[in-house]
Symmetry: C2
Subunit: 208 residues, 2 copies
DNA sequence: ATAATATGTGAACACTGTTCACAATTTGAA
DNA sequence: TTCAAATTGTGAACAGTGTTCACATATTAT
């Protein structure tokens, strides 16, 4: 049964309207202006009606986060995987920063919101999840492994692909947070400096 | 006139009580449980009374942020400045991460809250502020400069001490954010991995 | 003693997320 | 077609939030 009933289609459409309204509010007025009443106002529903489609505001915010994460994946997808490993990792980081710069509200939202982690994540889980072609972290993870395979990144005891991926992610994330929220007005040519920082970090990870 | 009037002493004490209550609430129940009414309840005032001492909740939060920043400065101060530059920078980063790990609520608060930056910051401003011995960023900045002077860090066109300090700060900040809020349950030996990442980054910044 | 200032309060306002009894609609089956 | 069941939307209410304001009290300075 691939085709859905009218009711399910309407339900899906309403869910979509709610999320679209939420995303618009965030983009226009910022995340702290997001309220159930404002969402309801925009889509001509009563505030209580939202509870027929989402369990809570938190559920709506989670859905918005997932959508933002999907868009981040799209932004990272433009980096061609045919690039040599080192260049690929640098461009991946730059794409991450571009996303944060062009969608500051959404990025701040992602960066701020508490995402509960599944309590136990094993290395096997991560290996398997790495197959997901669109997941942002998986993209980075595969890029790191290509760098290792090409001999450009140097594995050390207790410091393998996962640790490298985490560290590079942390560098990019920290840059994005500081630039969008805090130190963005410093007299720095951020794109140039960021590119150099990525290059230095990857160089350091490749030294014997 | 160094000695203050009784009224000023009471005023100062009340301000201190308010901030202490706010910090306690954050430490005990988390930043989202911080409300003026709960602060007032704890110090036996009416909510309206807080407005005789602070302009708004935001003003209270700003003061808490400053206090948290001061404590961060204390945590960084334990790293002896007599260490060789590279080791000093690594230990400074580790101290930053230790602070975030041991005061997750306060760190999340600092990391989350929007601090408005003075609109224009010049290099001269930063050079002067670098004299402040206790400011966390200044500490890092001076450590970077020691590394440069010792020939351990390699200055490039458009990538000097300020850019290096910003990048190292970003790496540490990103690690702290991800570990305390997001990926802390990954199967990684974080202290060891973080140390290696700092070392790699600094190595990379020293390569010709 | 008196006028000026500072400090604290209760009540109210406009918000927020959430719940709930109730009505209207849509659905699936007899 | 009829009828019961499930779904969807609503207004009202509740407890909570930050904030304001007229009013009373207490402290200071003249």
């Amino acid at each position: 049964m691939k085709t859905r009933t009218p009711r399910e289609r309407r339900q899906e459409r309403t869910r979509h309207d709610i999320l679209t309204a939420a995303i618009d509010i965030i983009a226009e007025d910022g995340a702290d202006q997001l309220s159930l009443r404002e969402i309801a106002r925009r889509i001509d529903y009563s505030p209580a009606a939202l509870y027929r489609h989402f369990d809570s505001k938190e559920a709506i915010v989670d859905a918005v986060c997932n959508e933002a994460n999907r868009r981040l994946g799209d932004s990272l997808a433009v980096v061609p995987e045919t690039l040599p490993p080192v260049e690929y990792l640098i461009e991946l980081g730059m794409a991450y920063l571009r996303f944060a710069d062009e969608n500051p509200q959404h990025f701040h939202f992602i960066a701020t919101w508490q995402i509960p982690m599944p309590p136990d994540v094993t290395r096997e889980d991560i290996e398997q999840a790495a197959d997901n072609p669109d997941d942002p972290f998986s993209r980075l993870y595969r890029g790191i492994q290509r760098g290792i395979d090409a001999g450009k990144l140097h594995v050390r005891p207790g410091y393998g692909a996962l640790e490298m991926a985490f560290s590079v992610w942390a560098l990019a994330h920290g840059m994005a947070v500081l630039q969008t929220q805090r130190l963005g007005r410093m007299p720095i040519d951020f794109p140039a400096a960021n590119r150099q920082a990525f290059a230095d970090f990857i160089t350091g990870m490749g030294s014997a």
